[in-house]
Amino acid sequence: MATYIARRLIQTVGLLFILSVLLFALVNLAPGGPLAGHGQSRHINPAKIELLKRQFGLDKPLPMQYLIWLVGNDWMQVDADGDGALDSYGARLGILRGDFGFSFRTRQPVLTEIGSRLPNTIYLTIVTLLVAAAIAIPIGIISAVRQYSAFDITVTTFSFAGQAIPEFWLGLILILIFYAWLKNPFTGAPLLPPGGMTSTNAAGFDLGDRVIHLILPVATGALGWIAWYSRFLRSSMLEVIHQDYIRTARAKGLNNWKVLYKHALRNALIPLITLLALDMPYIFSGAVFVEFLFAWPGMGRLYYQAALQRDYPVLMAVLIIGAGFIILSNLLADIVYAWLDPRIRLE
């Protein structure tokens, strides 16, 4: 197991290396080059661009630039004032030492930007996943146990529909219903806020206010997952309850619920948990729409704003971190799978 994990981690490093080359090439070969977002203003003159190029080291050959991006330039002389002569040691540490550079847009270090947004995305993601699991698991179990009942048929139809609703449209419709149409019967104000994490006038931490602001983004994000996970659990549960050991458990005289919960569900959940680990990255991608619609100050919104202005340092950082995250969650899925199901031996 340890050897397996070690080998996978080494593969991960290799894969991240390939990805970093691909991304670096993409950004540097893109029309306009890496400064495309930097000089958004049309007034910037060619001399100034040349100066910026020297200051950012963009006059060097691409492989050298890649190396600097990776390991920094504090070990070499650079042209800090852009006058064409080397004058001091560089200040960049490179992404390997956690230096993703500065955002063109806000002039803040990229990691500071990400650090201030990431917790908000994690917060929203965890609540969304918990809500999705809390609804999808019972639905999946009941539809499997009462296969082809009215409940099962209704739920299966709805979950098919739920998977076909695009998130961005669902969000708009929910805002329409709960913000524009439905009013709070006591105050006459809109029933739910259309966006934000808290009310702008909120003083300190107010749990009720937080919850109210979570309802629409969580509902928007969770529906697709509820549909997908309940369908998935239904089929994995159906597979399990027709196994011999379930019949044996029944034959021993265990009551029905005990058979379902202690014997069937435990095994039916294994693939679901793996799936959850594999799906984590998609939840982050989906965050772009939810955060865009509901003005949620998270990573998705940061990425959207960065893309609007071609803020490459931020875009590259999010993609590299995102890719690392996907690779690690795939590894985690394998490990959890082996841990939950002792029949599986990783080699």
Binding site: L26, P31, P166, L172, I173, L319
Partner: protein, 308 residues
């Protein structure tokens, strides 16, 4: 020995009987028929869009933001254009992107999967590492980055994120599933007796790949192509909704929604109808995919060509 001579002959013409069997089973799937009818209707309507009496791009300021009525069944937008007409033209764009993405994904993914699965070894590991690299990227975020870059490009064929550009961008990430699927099919099929028989008869690698193994993978490829069609429509709409995809004034379902967004609480029809179109096409496509999956039961297909 007679068995050795027979399978290649039978393999040369399994498609007619297979197709009719698939169609027979597909017809018995009520969801699939629903999906087939809905998506066909949408495609026909989109094709007939030029019959609409309204111009999709000319504005008529005196009838701005009209709610649905008999002469404008989906209402009019902020520039007084008939929304139904724009939705139909948007459908042409969105459905075309879907089709092109499937085409591009298959063109890239199937050869990669076939080579990796058939030759194995070093070819397989190189191609699969490449596939892994693509699968490890948060693909929708990369789509945003690519389309944000290409949005400003004015090259002849790829002007400002037209249908071709967006389809290529989405297709560049859609091929991975095809590659994996085809590889898996090739890995199992290359060891079968009928492949050994063709090889013994002197069949070339190319002949074995194209005429003997690939036709057996047609089921999963078709199912995946259907689902990819749906994903592509969602991805195009999503990109256009964020403003990175198809650029106005060309309508697509996604950018119609994006335009609606500013005042949709006042003029809700602008947001409701384009979204309904996306919803109905995706649900139909998913039902068709489901129906095809049942219809292409792999065991039945293998039985037909003499395996099992």
């Amino acid at each position: 020995m007679s068995q050795l001579a027979n399978p290649p002959a039978a393999l040369d013409a399994p498609s007619a009987s297979m197709a009719s069997g698939v169609w027979k089973r597909f017809r018995k799937h009520p969801g699939a028929i629903f999906g087939f009818v809905v998506i066909s209707t949408l495609i026909i309507l989109a094709l007939l869009a030029p019959l609409s009496p309204y111009n999709p791009e000319a504005s008529e300021m005196e009838i701005r933001n009209q709610p649905p009525a008999w002469n404008h069944i989906m209402g009019t937008d902020a520039l007084g254009r008939d929304l139904f007409t724009r939705v139909l033209y948007g459908g042409r764009v969105s459905l075309t992107v879907g089709l092109l993405v499937v085409l591009f994904s298959i063109t890239i993914g199937v050869p990669i999967g076939a080579l990796a699965g058939y030759y194995g070894g070093a070819v397989d590991s190189v191609l699969m590492r490449l596939t892994d690299a693509f699968l490890s990227l948060p693909s929708f975020l990369v789509l945003i980055l690519l389309s944000a870059i290409l949005r400003e490009v004015e090259a002849p064929l790829f002007e400002r994120n037209n249908v071709l550009t967006i389809s290529l961008v989405i297709g560049a990430f859609g091929w991975t599933t095809f590659a994996r699927l085809v590889r898996a099919a090739f890995l199992t099929l290359r060891e079968t007796d009928f492949v050994a028989a063709v090889r013994a008869l002197g069949g070339s690698d190319l002949r074995i790949i194209l005429r003997h193994i690939l036709p057996n993978a047609i089921g999963p490829i078709t199912v995946e192509a259907t689902l990819e069609f749906g994903y592509a429509i969602i991805e195009e709409s999503g990109l256009s909704f964020l403003g990175f995809g198809i650029q106005p004034p060309t309508p697509s379902w996604g950018n119609l929604l994006s335009n609606a967004q500013e005042h949709f609480t006042k003029y809700p029809w602008l947001a409701i109808f384009p979204g309904l179109m996306i919803f109905f096409s995706i649900i139909s496509i998913n039902y068709i995919g489901d129906g095809l999956r049942d219809a292409f039961d792999p065991y039945k297909v293998l039985e037909k060509v003499g395996e099992v």
